[in-house]
């Protein structure tokens, strides 16, 4: 496959005197499920924000294949096939579930988004995503009325709305009940290899189970990268992060 | 000769700027503390000025007015906060704007009812009614006194904000909203004090400027416009910002009245738009 990967080169982010990220080099291989792990405050979400365009790095570059996208805004990257979900549930609470998804689908159809002389297009591919996320029954409900687990599923559904090649999922399992974890885990795994998935997750069992590659961040630095087996075996990681939990 | 004019315009600008500072410091604190947009802030200036007028008419002395003007404004600020404004803290901006704007209208119309719509004169305190010679130029003693008084108050205020625990809470709170509750300080009390002090200072601004420009019922809304400019230029929630913003706007206005008089008013809004575009959070603001 000749799909380009997403590459971070020497990326650093400073907030005033605080170094949130320091000289990160990272390559996301197409078709992989690539997880980013690390203790709280390690800089995982900051890295996500840099890669998806919410934040511009203080130094370094972000490339999509050979194309430099360091300064490109988040909304622009969506049109290159880069979509994301948020750590804290970030949906349109007052709109219906179907409308949330529809807006995500519509976003990549520029002409449709500027259409003002007729009603919304019912043909947009909303049903499929509702089905994939298990939200068909709630399609007409206000998104704010969903359970936490269902809202997390909707988050992922919205990230999928633009039919992206790269999906960045920020802690999709946070606060999700045991029953839902399995379902969402399978949903995420099913996205590859058609799509490339970048995942931040604290649930180590899930991460080690489904990832193709794992990068470990600690205090803004990438301290290790490799397959789940490599990471499990890495003494540095064990000391810095995993501790006794594995 | 030209240099001397510039010097004098600078002096004038500082004088105006100091009054702008007093006018705005309460607005910026309340703004910062509660993200609350008080369109009724100009009213406190109006109340201060009319109290000065009434008191000096009754007692024949501007000195009593200096005490009562700020007091009346502070009391009115406190009452409106307790009775009406605190019910709007949870409301959207537009609701707050509408309520406070309505309050300003009510006070303005009340002033017209109680007094009349015409402008009134407030005499300068006799001790300061003279002029001071500076080289070949003269300068009104009262204006110098205003600059001096405002400077003293700025220093006192700075002391209160820097060196007392409560002041620290107030300052911290106005610069970052979450801080106050983190410090474990009664938020309600902080708000009340902010209104009381901020209102009193706006009232003092009105009192001090009454002998300079007289009083009339529409001076409140005019002051509000200036105060907004100062707050935005200085940076929301910043005490030093209000001081710098006030001085900057005062000096810009004063200088412009020599260089491009018809545009003096335009210039202060131009300065504000410029600051916002270049430094969106204001001179001293943190985004």
């Amino acid at each position: 496959m000749d799909r380009p990967g997403i590459i971070a080169e020497n990326v650093g982010v400073r907030f005033g005197g605080f170094r949130a990220l320091n000289r990160i080099d990272l390559e996301i291989t197409p078709g992989n499920l690539h997880s980013i792990i690390g203790p709280n405050g390690a800089g995982k979400t900051t890295l996500f924000n840099v890669l998806t365009g919410r934040l511009q790095p203080s130094e370094g570059h972000v490339r999509l294949g050979v194309r430099d996208i360091t300064r490109m805004a988040a909304h622009g990257r969506v049109h290159l096939g880069i979509a994301r979900s948020f750590q804290v549930t970030n949906i349109f609470h007052n709109l219906t579930v179907a409308e949330n998804i529809r807006l995500a689908v519509q976003a990549v159809r520029r002409a449709e988004s500027w259409t003002f002389w007729r009603g919304v297009n019912p043909d947009l591919n909303v049903e499929e995503i509702l089905a994939a996320t298990g939200l068909q029954a709630r399609a007409a409900d206000r998104a704010g009325t969903l359970s936490h687990g269902a809202q997390r599923a909707l988050e992922i559904g919205m990230a999928l709305g633009s039919d992206p090649r790269y999906v960045f999922l920020d802690e999709p399992l946070a606060g999700v009940s045991i029953d839902d974890i399995h379902r969402i885990k399978n949903l995420i795994r099913s996205l590859t290899p058609r799509r490339t998935v970048v995942l931040i997750e604290h649930n180590m069992r899930v991460v080690l189970d489904i990832s193709d590659r794992i990068t470990v961040l600690a205090q803004g630095e990438a301290i290790a990268e490799g397959t789940p087996a490599d990471i499990r075996a890495n003494p540095l990681v064990r000391a810095a992060y995993l501790g006794a939990s594995v | 000769m030209q240099g001397q004019v510039i010097l004098f315009q600078l002096l004038n600008g500082i004088g105006i700027g100091m009054i702008y500072f007093l006018l705005s410091v309460g607005l910026t604190m309340i703004f910062g503390l509660m993200r609350f947009v008080n369109f009724a802030h100009g009213t406190l200036y109006l109340v201060g000025a009319y109290t000065a007028y009434s008191v000096s008419l009754l007692t024949g002395s501007m000195w009593w007015a200096l005490a009562f003007g700020p007091l009346a404004a502070a009391v009115i600020a406190l009452i409106s906060e307790r009775l009406i404004l605190r019910h709007t803290y949870e409301m959207p901006h537009e609701a707050q704007i509408l309520v406070t704007f309505a309050l300003a209208l009510i006070f303005q119309e009340s002033i017209i009812l109680i007094f009349d719509p015409l402008a009134k004169n407030v005499p300068v305190p006799s001790l300061l009614s003279g002029i001071v010679f500076i080289g070949s130029f003269v300068y009104p003693a009262y204006r110098l006194a205003v600059v001096f008084a405002a400077a003293v108050i700025a220093i006192l205020l700075w002391f209160a904000l820097e060196r007392t625990r409560f002041g620290a809470a107030l300052r911290a709170g106005s610069e970052s909203t979450e801080m106050v509750s983190l410090l474990g300080i009664n938020v309600q009390k902080v708000f009340m004090v902010a209104f009381l002090v901020g209102g009193g200072l706006a009232g003092l601004a009105g009192t001090l400027s009454a002998p300079l420009r007289g009083v009339e019922p529409f001076m409140g809304s005019e002051a509000l416009g200036v105060a907004f400019v100062v707050v935005v230029v200085g940076g929301i929630g910043s005490f030093t910002g209000a001081l710098l913003g006030g001085l900057l706007i005062g000096v810009v206005q004063s200088m412009a009245s020599s260089l491009w008089p018809e545009g003096a008013r335009l210039m202060i809004y131009g300065a504000m738009a410029l600051v916002l575009l270049v430094r969106p959070a204001g001179l001293m603001g943190r985004s």
Binding site: A74, F116, S162 | E94, I97, A102, E109, F228, I236
Partner: protein, 330 residues
């Protein structure tokens, strides 16, 4: 919830209600000129209702665009022999362009900063009007503006009734257009931006560009109202561009409720009629308006029309429940 942010079908019941109200107004009001003033301000308030209700933008600068529309129409009518309709549309287009420029400069800022910027631009516009007195007539305004037929020789605007019919037709179209936009794909994007602009950005919407477009449309509506004002009076007085105009339009919109375009009509009607009536009773009538404003904000946060809609909704569901044994909503 009854807000602009809820999707409404197009056209809905209010479209028909609006048509009925516009036809009835000159008959129920004491004078046709009062009806004309009402529809002019309804369109002006609509620009605020649209921006605040649909996009969540509180613009304190709509008076600037109202003024540009008013002066633009007056200048076109004074210096060319175009018909009234062309003048109105061209003036509204000028206002839309100005609004896009102001929007470009101010949408980088959010929340209260945005409010302050629009306020500043409105003030600057007023001072610019005074400075350009050769064009604008300074504080005397532009007087003696002709009122040519609508298009070519058709639609002579000689009588106040004809003027009203013309203005009411524009008002109707402006409302219908706004409703159309609100229930279109573009409207759904604007609603999404109002709800959560960070999410809208992450979904791939260029939030700034959409906001600028929305401001341009808001400017178009305000400019349209200004141009209608010029047609209505045959003059463009300076207060059409005063900062007070901006305040007045915002007040009307909020009093009416920003949940639906109808709020603009109700708010404008309430303000215009009340001002007209109260000012004959007591010179300090503004105080009564101010008290009413406070009462509405504290007790009817959805505005007059929003609250009425809630009541109707409650009454309907109550009746439905009484008829059917099953509860209607879960």
């Amino acid at each position: 919830m009854n807000t602009f942010s809820a999707y409404r079908p197009f056209p809905d019941a209010t479209t028909g209600a609006l048509a009925i109200v516009l036809v009835a107004l000159p008959f129920v009001l004491p004078s046709v000129t009062l009806a004309s003033e009402l529809v002019v301000f309804a369109v002006g308030a609509l620009s605020c209702t649209f921006l605040l209700g649909l996009v969540g933008l509180l613009s304190f600068g709509q008076g600037l665009f109202f003024g540009i529309g008013a002066y633009g129409a007056a200048l076109i009518l004074l210096h060319s022999n175009s018909g009234s309709l062309v003048a109105v549309l061209a003036a509204a287009a000028m206002a839309a362009i100005a609004a896009a420029i102001v929007g470009f400069l101010s949408v980088r800022r959010r929340g209260i900063y945005f409010v302050m910027l629009t306020l500043a631009f409105a003030q600057m516009g007023y001072f610019a009007m005074l400075a350009l007195k050769n064009v604008t007539g300074g504080e005397n305004g532009l007087t003696g503006v002709p009122r040519p037929p609508i298009v070519a020789d058709l639609g002579v605007l000689a009588h106040p009734q004809a003027v009203y019919a013309f203005l009411a037709a524009i008002c109707f179209l402006a409302f219908v257009l706004t409703q159309r936009v609100a229930s279109s794909p573009l409207g759904s994007v604007l609603r999404a931006i109002r709800e959560n602009d960070i999410r809208a950005d992450a979904l791939g919407y260029d939030v700034r560009l959409f906001k600028i477009a929305a401001l341009a449309f808001g400017g178009f509506l305000a400019g349209l109202a200004g141009a209608m004002h010029t047609i209505f009076l045959g003059l463009a007085p300076p207060n059409t561009i005063e900062p007070e105009m901006s305040e007045r339009l915002v007040i009307m919109a909020i009093i009416g409720g920003t949940g639906s375009p109808m709020g603009a009509l109700i708010g404008a009607g309430f303000y215009v009629l009340l001002a007209d009536f109260l000012s004959t009773l007591w010179p300090r009538w503004l105080m009564i308006i101010a008290f009413l404003m406070i009462a509405i904000v504290l007790f009817l946060p959805n505005g007059l029309w929003g609250s009425a809609e809630l009541l109707i909704g409650r009454w309907k569901s109550h009746r439905a429940r009484a008829v059917s044994p099953e509860p209607v909503d879960g």
